[in-house]
């Protein structure tokens, strides 16, 4: 593998602080040296490399924006975005693992949990001693989570939860699930430990996308949890949607990482591959592709950076996140497909990264709000009229 030199057409490197660059470079080095040599193998086998969990924790990548008193690294959001970018340069499954743990499990416990829940779970999750998952989507309710059928009924000082969740990243390997359920008071979040009777998390197999990531169903049959397991500060659907805003933010950066990986690989390939006695990159059709991709990737980088700065200033909105997630994942998928094409027959081999990224991005463009749902979110922001129904 040649040295990774990601595109930086507009010299954005200057726009990051020294510690932001150091965070990015540390994660980049780890991905290059540790993760990438095994990426193909795990994708092919359909497994997540659980042996890396202690290393990911040691580097501090689980919930890195969490304050240090709860075991986080206290990073800003731009640095967190750069972590997502570098992880997704490795594989969308790797970034998903870290996104779920940080944005969808640690974030709701920090934002909506009791002090006791924070003190108990955040250090365990930050250190990778516990793995978590997030259960909102159901078999029949994806884009419309308000239709959820999972219920929680208060019986004495306990809650009895019934229902099914689907497409849950890390479900099978989790120690704790953040489960959203309908109660008489509206939607509420519950911490469900894996050993609660009636709880199971069978793995969903036969995926052609995110193969190096565990995807599961959560089955809850009369699962009893104490009231102390309810997230006391999360009320209504806006609580889980708030988590998704966090995760989508990371995905907007992740898309840049996947696109950069594909671009770098295709560019190296096209410069070395000789066709009709000269490098493939020297012909006009490939050059148009590279020019278009370089433009799109640069725009995605600018968008991610601006979104990150807004988030750090406390000014970003869910509608802005929708725009960045929608755009950046769409360009990443487009770049991955174009790069796969540039690699010719080699592009379908897992020996190269482009096909793996291309398959992964079909999930990324679907989860955390599909491309089309984000279109409607942006449409609503611009026109003031909702077109969801």
């Amino acid at each position: 593998m040649s040295t990774y030199r990601p595109l930086d057409y507009m010299m954005l490197d200057d726009q990051f602080s020294e510690d932001e660059r150091m965070v990015r470079d540390a994660v980049r080095q780890w991905v290059t040296e540790r993760y990438l040599p095994l990426a193909m193998e795990h994708f092919e086998a359909g497994t997540f490399p659980m042996e890396f969990v202690p290393e990911i924790a040691e580097l501090g990548m689980f919930g890195p924006t969490t304050p240090t008193e709860y075991g986080g690294a206290g990073l800003n959001n731009v640095a967190y975005g750069l972590i997502c970018q570098e992880l997704e340069r490795g594989d969308s499954g790797l970034r998903s693992f870290v996104s779920v743990q940080g944005s969808l499990v640690m974030y709701p416990i920090y934002a909506y949990g009791s002090e006791e829940q924070r003190r108990k779970w955040l250090p365990l999750l930050a250190s990778g001693k516990a793995i978590g998952c997030f259960g909102l989507t159901e078999p029949d309710f994806g884009s419309n989570p308000g239709g959820m059928l999972t219920t929680a009924k208060k019986v004495g000082n306990e809650w009895v939860i019934n229902g099914r969740k689907m497409w849950i990243t890390n479900g099978t390997v989790s120690d704790v699930a953040v489960v959203w359920a309908r109660t008489e008071q509206g939607v509420r979040g519950f911490l469900v430990e894996k050993d609660r009777p009636g709880f199971s998390a069978p793995e969903q197999k036969h995926k052609f996308s995110l193969r190096a990531s565990v995807t599961s169903e959560l089955v809850l049959e009369d699962v009893k949890v104490p009231d102390a397991n309810r997230l006391p500060k999360g009320e209504g659907l806006k609580a889980p949607l708030g988590c998704l805003t966090q995760a989508r933010y990371g995905i907007a950066w992740g898309g840049v990482g996947a696109a950069l990986a594909c671009f770098d690989e295709a560019l190296n390939y096209a410069k070395q591959r000789i066709v009709f006695d000269k490098p493939l990159a020297g012909f006009q059709i490939p050059q148009k592709k590279f020019a278009d991709m370089a433009t799109q990737i640069t725009l995605a980088q600018l968008l991610a950076l601006r979104l990150g700065r807004l988030k750090d200033e406390g000014k970003f909105t869910p509608a802005q996140v929708s725009l960045a997630k929608r755009n950046n994942v769409a360009i990443a998928l487009d770049v991955a497909r174009t790069c796969r094409d540039l690699l010719g027959a080699n592009g379908i081999s897992l020996e190269y990264q482009v096909g793996r990224h291309m398959c992964n991005l079909e999930s990324v463009i679907t989860y955390e709000g599909t491309h089309d749902i984000h279109t409607l979110a942006i449409g609503q922001e611009v026109t003031g009229l909702a077109a969801f129904r």
Partner: protein, 250 residues
């Protein structure tokens, strides 16, 4: 214990150096830099020594201000402070002048144990470590692959072509680190944040004139074109003959 890792910023190993117009130096334009490979081992060993025996780790370099990037990495990994002996001319400084500047600073720092890389990957001299120890009158153990340190003494293994040599020595000492001594850690994110509070001091030093000057720099001769001796199994005798009588490697 005052522990010091002396390190050097060098061109990245995959860089193909271009010779400057003066024919005596390397053209620095467009060159990217890194910490010399073996110096990463020195930093790691310094931090491990602190973790085991206590004390403070200083990372010391002679070089340009830009080396603060590499030193910040060392601070993120667990070093306590960093010092740059600021030298605009460091690319042309000889081993003796470098060692004199370092030795003086090491005395000021009251260093007890000093780690360096076995060799810097740019000039390939492997001279500064032994020079510094000689100037200070300290023990010098080079090419160390295994190390046990106590408050006043140490035991080290050195790998030679003929086997492993175990030596015992007293402190203070200069130890040069070879591949295999340790596996350098990654900077972790908490460490990067903690490093923001640590200082990288840039200080001047008393210039010592070079004793040695580069007179001429030449690239290695271009490799001779290869030769196909034949194809398939039938080519084996010709290949063996070429390896034995032309290349003389068999």
């Amino acid at each position: 214990m005052n522990i010091v890792a002396c390190v050097k910023r060098v061109p990245v190993t995959e860089a193909t150096p271009k010779i400057a117009a003066d024919g005596k130096s390397v053209d620095a334009s467009g060159v990217e830099y890194m910490l010399s490979f073996y110096d990463d081992l020195a930093i790691e060993e310094a931090i491990r020594t602190k973790e085991k025996l206590g004390g403070e780790v200083t990372v010391l370099t002679l070089g340009p201000s830009e080396a603060s990037k590499e030193l910040r990495d060392a601070l993120a990994k667990g070093a306590d402070k960093a010092v740059i002996l600021k030298d605009a001319n460091f690319g042309a400084r000889d081993a003796r002048a470098t060692a004199k500047a370092l030795a003086k600073k090491l005395q000021e720092l009251n260093a007890r144990v000093v780690f360096m890389g076995r060799v810097a990957t740019d000039r390939d001299n492997a001279a500064v470590g032994a020079y510094v120890a000689t100037l200070l009158g300290w023990s010098c153990v080079t090419d160390v692959v295994k190390l046990e340190l106590a408050a006043d003494t140490g035991k080290a293994c050195r790998e030679t072509e003929d086997g492993v040599e175990t030596v015992e020595f007293s402190l203070p000492a200069v130890i040069t680190c070879d591949k295999g001594l340790n596996e350098p850690r990654y900077s972790n994110l908490k460490g990067i944040m903690a490093a923001k509070k640590k200082s990288v001091d840039e200080v001047a030093f008393e210039d010592v004139a070079n004793q040695q000057a580069v007179a001429k720099l030449e690239p290695p001769p271009a490799r001779k074109e290869g030769r196909v001796v034949g194809q398939g199994a039938a080519a084996v005798p010709a290949l063996i003959d070429a390896l034995r009588n032309e290349a003389k490697v068999l």
